[in-house]
């Protein structure tokens, strides 16, 4: 599969690239890169409301991305955003501000990415709502505590799959429990959609946010899937461009479909690129890759432990192939830099999840995250890279 990805023909520090920073962003296959170049080289135009050929092609391609999203994830509404973060902020403004009032409760978890914490803290300040964080205890969300936190909750925001630990939360159960108290549910699916195919209607969430760049698509584009009911409760967020029906000096009316939430010239080339990525990934058996990668990751994690590392990921069935670990004495940055010197890309730091770091009792971890194109050889190079680091740092 690596042959589909031009980046793997490059060397890093004189060594073949072993890319294990997939939870941060994934690499792009040629078809995605070409789709965007082709768009710019042959169909570039602004979309909507135009009658010339290029504009027609641009509109068709951009809207095809939306159609693919709706089909793949079985959703009636797919708003295109610049990514997961903007999608969650959109919910906080377009839904939260108009459906939550002082004292209302929003339930979050200690495992959330900053992008699913900060927008709610900001809303809490604007609207005086209460935030409750479900604790992460002994390697999992405390569902008993969740049940208690749910009391009076209007919205539950939960990360489907953790970007730090790879843990896949029991979202089906969480959604079912939330529904019993009538709370809406937002899934942060940034790390989920790269690894599994989610049926949005079936899973029963009200909002699902994710980014193209974590599933072989381009930067600068993502989506928010919305249930019918939630969609009907939302008011426009940003104003301008194609989101209006009529504008007068006295006031404006807005479009009734998803365009209502897409202000300004949309991410047109990005839509072409993401559409290509969605078509590419549709041909992939995600489940078997998922199992293959999880097996690799488990094996690597065992080896890391044998070599004296502390491993924070438990890599249970369903979890993503993400290994967070630390060495007892070597600084994560030194470690990562010595791996980079060998062509191996891993990430270090708090992974935009400082509350979870605090819970783990560390300021950061080294994270190796695997994706479709990673193979046994990558794992082998990674492990011998680790050995060389350990030797050098003795």
């Amino acid at each position: 599969m690596k042959r589909d990805f031009p980046i793997f023909s490059r060397q890093v520090n004189g060594k073949p690239l072993v890319y294990l920073d997939n939870a941060a962003t994934t690499q792009k296959p040629s078809c995605v890169i070409d789709a965007m170049s082709d768009y710019y080289s042959s169909s570039n135009a602004n979309v909507h409301r135009a009658v010339h050929t290029l504009a027609g092609e641009a509109t068709e391609g951009y809207e095809a991305c939306r159609t693919l999203l709706k089909q793949r994830y079985n959703a009636n509404y797919a708003v295109i955003t610049s990514g997961t973060t903007e999608a969650i902020n959109l919910v906080a403004h377009a839904w939260g501000e108009h459906n939550l009032t002082a004292g209302d409760v929003v339930v979050l978890t200690e495992m959330e990415h900053h992008s699913d914490i900060v927008p709610w803290q900001m809303l809490a300040e604007r609207a005086s709502i209460e935030l409750r964080f479900v604790p992460f205890t002994d390697g999992e969300l405390d569902l008993e505590a969740f049940k208690i936190a749910l009391e009076g909750a209007k919205l539950v925001c939960v990360v489907h799959t953790s970007n730090v630990l790879g843990i896949r939360n029991p979202v089906e159960e969480i959604i079912a429990m939330s529904q019993t108290v009538g709370a809406k549910v937002l899934l942060d699916a940034a790390q989920a959609v790269p690894h599994e195919l989610i049926d949005f209607k079936q899973i029963g969430a009200d909002f699902m946010a994710f980014s193209a760049h974590k599933m072989c698509g381009p930067t600068g584009i993502g989506a928010l899937l919305i249930s019918d009911e939630a969609f009907s409760q939302m008011e426009p967020f940003m104003g301008g461009g194609d989101m209006i029906q009529t504008v007068t000096l006295e006031g404006s009316t807005y479009q009734s479909n998803e365009h209502r939430f897409e202000a300004g010239t949309p991410r047109i080339a990005e839509g072409f690129g993401w559409a290509a990525a969605l078509e590419w990934i549709a041909k992939i058996d995600l489940e078997s890759h998922h199992n293959r990668l999880l097996a690799i990751a488990k094996n690597v994690a065992d080896e890391l432990k044998r070599k004296g590392m502390t491993v924070y990921s438990s890599l249970n069935p369903g979890d993503a192939a993400v290994i967070s670990f630390n060495h007892p004495t070597i600084h994560p940055e030194d470690f990562a830099r010595l791996l980079d010197a060998q062509g191996i890309a891993v990430r270090t730091g708090h992974h935009c999840a400082q509350p979870l770091m605090e819970k783990l009792g560390v300021s950061g971890t080294i994270r190796a995250s695997f994706y479709l194109y990673n193979d046994d050889l990558d794992a082998e190079i990674f492990l011998s890279g680790i050995d060389r680091v350990l030797e050098a740092m003795q």
Partner: protein, 137 residues
């Protein structure tokens, strides 16, 4: 697929032409086939929604046959309405319900128009069928 004669004639007429400009001229020629819906009969219900230009379509069943009246400010939209009129006017409802907008594709009318407009045709086509469905219910 075999089409009723008047539709097949339209398909043939378009297929003969290579140049886009001429296709559009032919399309506009069909505007005169429209039985015009006078302005005073325009209303919310017969407004074609999602169209960039103003367009109205009204469908009636007379003597068990379908008759449509229409109006549009853009001549090409009127042309599409003319083609629709040829396709449905004087036909029994059942036959209209069996039609698909595919004939426009086959004629190359849809290809010759940008998506938003071809959606306009589809919208108008659906509107006619829906009105017929309503009327015969």
């Amino acid at each position: 697929m075999t089409w009723p004669k008047p539709i097949q004639d339209i398909i043939d007429e378009f297929q003969e032409i290579d140049e886009q400009f001429e296709r559009l001229e032919i399309l506009m020629d069909f505007a005169k086939e429209v039985d015009e819906l006078p302005v005073e009969d325009w209303n919310e219900q017969n407004l074609v929604k999602g169209c960039q230009s103003i367009a109205h379509i009204e469908v009636n069943i007379r003597d068990d046959l379908v008759w449509m009246r229409a109006a549009a400010d853009a001549k090409m939209v009127q042309g599409l309405q003319g083609i629709l009129s040829i396709a449905v006017n004087g036909s029994p409802p059942k036959q209209v319900m069996e039609l698909t907008p595919q004939f426009a594709e086959e004629a190359g009318i849809l290809n010759s128009l940008t998506p938003s407009r071809s959606n306009g045709f589809r919208t108008m086509f659906d509107m006619v069928q829906n009105s017929v469905k309503e009327a015969i219910k």
